[in-house]
């Protein structure tokens, strides 16, 4: 299917916080509590519309266990957006956010939009991290924040789409250079010049100010 832009996302966070479930809820609109462990990385994709333009989200769902960090680091390259997920019923997953954020900032491009997600909001009775704490963390580190439930689908669409909107705005403002694929944004086939492998070159009718080097 044709698209105007392709944004690469990466989903990160501790093991068992619901990264794969969030992805599945977003791409397939279903919740599957019983699923295989993510070993390495899994992929998902979905088309959304922003400002009348088709945007394809290519989502990389990563393994959350500490041992996999060294591998996960190589996946940050070229990501335009990141969903940093913790589990509101497990404080340790919230406490680890700082190290995740350090990792993300260190290995991604500086313009990557990071959305902080407190998942499992349906488990209110087992809540261990207050909403305000998540908000404060996000404010302090300049992130967007949302509480979601991959089970009930609450806020899942919004989380992915708001991140995309933020990226789109950055493109409009010229913060993102869409001609540099390291930014995690590709132009759709119909926007690229006809040249083979032309995704890396060309512009989008001057809709943005980021100059090409």
């Amino acid at each position: 299917m044709s698209y105007a832009y392709l944004f690469k996302y990466i989903i990160i966070g501790d093991t068992g916080v619901g990264k794969s479930c969030l992805l599945l809820q977003f791409t397939d609109k279903r919740f599957q509590p019983v699923h295989d462990l993510t070993i390495g990385v899994e992929f998902g994709a979905r088309m959304i519309t922003i400002d009348g333009k088709q945007v394809k989200l290519q989502i990389w769902d990563t393994a959350g266990q500490e041992a996999f960090r060294s591998i996960t680091r190589s996946y940050y390259r070229g990501a335009a957006g990141a969903l940093l997920v913790y589990d509101i019923t497990r404080r340790d997953t919230f406490n680890h956010l700082t190290t995740w954020l350090e990792d993300a900032r260190q290995h991604s491009n500086s313009n990557m939009v990071i959305m902080l997600i407190g998942n499992k909001s349906d488990l209110e009775s087992r809540r261990d991290v207050k909403r305000e704490e998540g908000e404060a963390f996000a404010r302090e580190h300049g992130l967007i924040f949302m509480e979601t439930s991959a089970k009930t689908a609450a806020n899942v669409e919004e989380a992915f789409i708001n991140t995309a909107k933020e990226i789109y705005e950055k493109i409009q403002e010229g913060v993102f250079d869409i001609n540099n694929e390291a930014n995690g944004i590709k132009l759709g086939p119909q926007h690229s010049p006809a040249a083979a492998g032309g995704m890396a070159a060309g512009g989008l009718g001057g809709s943005q100010g980021g100059g090409c080097c």
Binding site: G16, D36, I39, G40, F43
Partner: protein, 590 residues
Amino acid sequence: MGHVEDVPTGVTSICNDNYEPDRCGAALPGLTPTPAPTAATAPSATRPSKPKPTPRRAMRQVIKYSGKLKETLVHEVQGLRPSSKHREKSPLVARTSSDAAATAAQPRRSREELRQLWKKAINQQVLLNRMERENERITERVRSGERVMYAEMPPCAGDVKSEWRQLLDSWRAGRKVHVDDLQELVFRGVPIRLRPEVWQLLVFHHRLHHPAPSVSHVDNYDTSYLQLIRQLTSFQREILTDLGRTFPQHPYFRSPFGSGQLELFNVLKAVSLLDPELGYCQGLGFIAGILLLHAPEEESYELLKHMLFPLELRKQFMPDMSPLQIQMYQFSRLVHDHHSDLYAHLEKYEVSPMLYATPWFLTLFSSQYPIGFSARVFDLILLLGLEAVFKVSLALLDIHQEQLKNLTGMEDIMEYIKTEMPRLSQTSAQQVFRKAVELDISRQLLSYEVEYHVLQEEVLASPSHADSDLNKLGAMNQNLKRQVMELLHQLQTSSDQIKTLTERNKTLESRVSQLSSERSDLVTFVRYLSLHTPDRLEVPAPFRRFLDDGAASEPAGDARDPLNCALFEAGPSRPRRERALSRSKTVDCE
């Protein structure tokens, strides 16, 4: 058909060859060391079991009873020895010993009595053997029903089975197994039912031909499984979280905290206690799961331990996973060497082995491929080590390379590798293993590992160079910045001083001009007085110079006219005086 007593530990329960009940009696003395009188326990122990228990619980009960039976028998054997403490506990044993005492006291039994006793013992042994057999059948049913429920992939040729049987018999008999025979048979395939025993043989064979691994850093290496699982692990939560995500579709593992999951938990827990440095790493569960489908808990643990240490799988699960990265590099180079077109194609779409081969290595194909296929890979790993995974991976890419090359786009390629490739037909599975075992990559693997380290050193060296340069430049920059700041500060101070001085100068200038005008008035006055006083006023010495000055500089003519007195001040001496005056004033100010 020989039964199981001579078989090395752990394979007992899997041999399901039937033997004739009639022969049991004949086999009796060799089968158990239990003396005749103690066998009297058998009937009471067997009574609770039903011959055809259908629900799993019933089956387990039978197994349990039979286990108890064995235990009792063992105790009784010990009970015959004089020092045994079980004698008092077991009324049976007590009876036996009192019988013995009676025997000693009483006259010898009659021939008939002895015959009766022997008859009884034989009958009971027959019963016991039936029990054992039932147990065996149940275990087998449990295994085939719940555990080993997968299709061979690829299926073994019929004749392989009998050849395996011969080889295993020969091994059991203590004869040497030739490596070529073993290898040839493994390459031809391992029948499902014989697989557990074949794995034991492969472990045995590997131990025989390789030095023991260096395990000095692993404190618990020699701790027994039963001791390990009695302890608590700090990885408990992580292991528990992943139980439901390991083979969640498989009947043996899918029920929450069912026997499959419990066994899985125990084995993973034991490994985490055996080697706390490794602890628990995701991926291990799948390997343990495949083993548990073939062997009981403790045996699975031993197999896993063998794979982790002697076969060196441990390193790829270590916390920083750097050996896995080396493996991915090696694999990438192998793809380049063996299938350069495919390599270029995958490179073009940024599909690196790190993206698709990580689960192949960490779960030995078990998380994505059919169990039959994965089990086949396990056969090869137990024979060849981790090299087998490289070979199978290469062969897989090989047989799919045309399809892969037709795909354009990273997502399509990844999707194909993840979902289409594991849907192997038996023919393609056959092809994969045929190609895999033909590959000879040992030397390449070694050189690529060295290459990786060299590259890594270079990469590490260059940034550190750049870093040190950068640091130097940074320090210089800091220095210069500081200098600039100092200079700016000085400049500021200086310009402030200039400003102050300029202002003071202006004040002084105005004072000088004021003083000059006063002076000229005074000069005029002095002259006036000297000229116009009647008796030529005596001009005091300090003022006389004005008169002299005036005389010296006075132009001819009307110089004495007070109106022209100002002219006196126009002489060249004026600036000099001003300067002197200004100087003295400045000194005063300061």
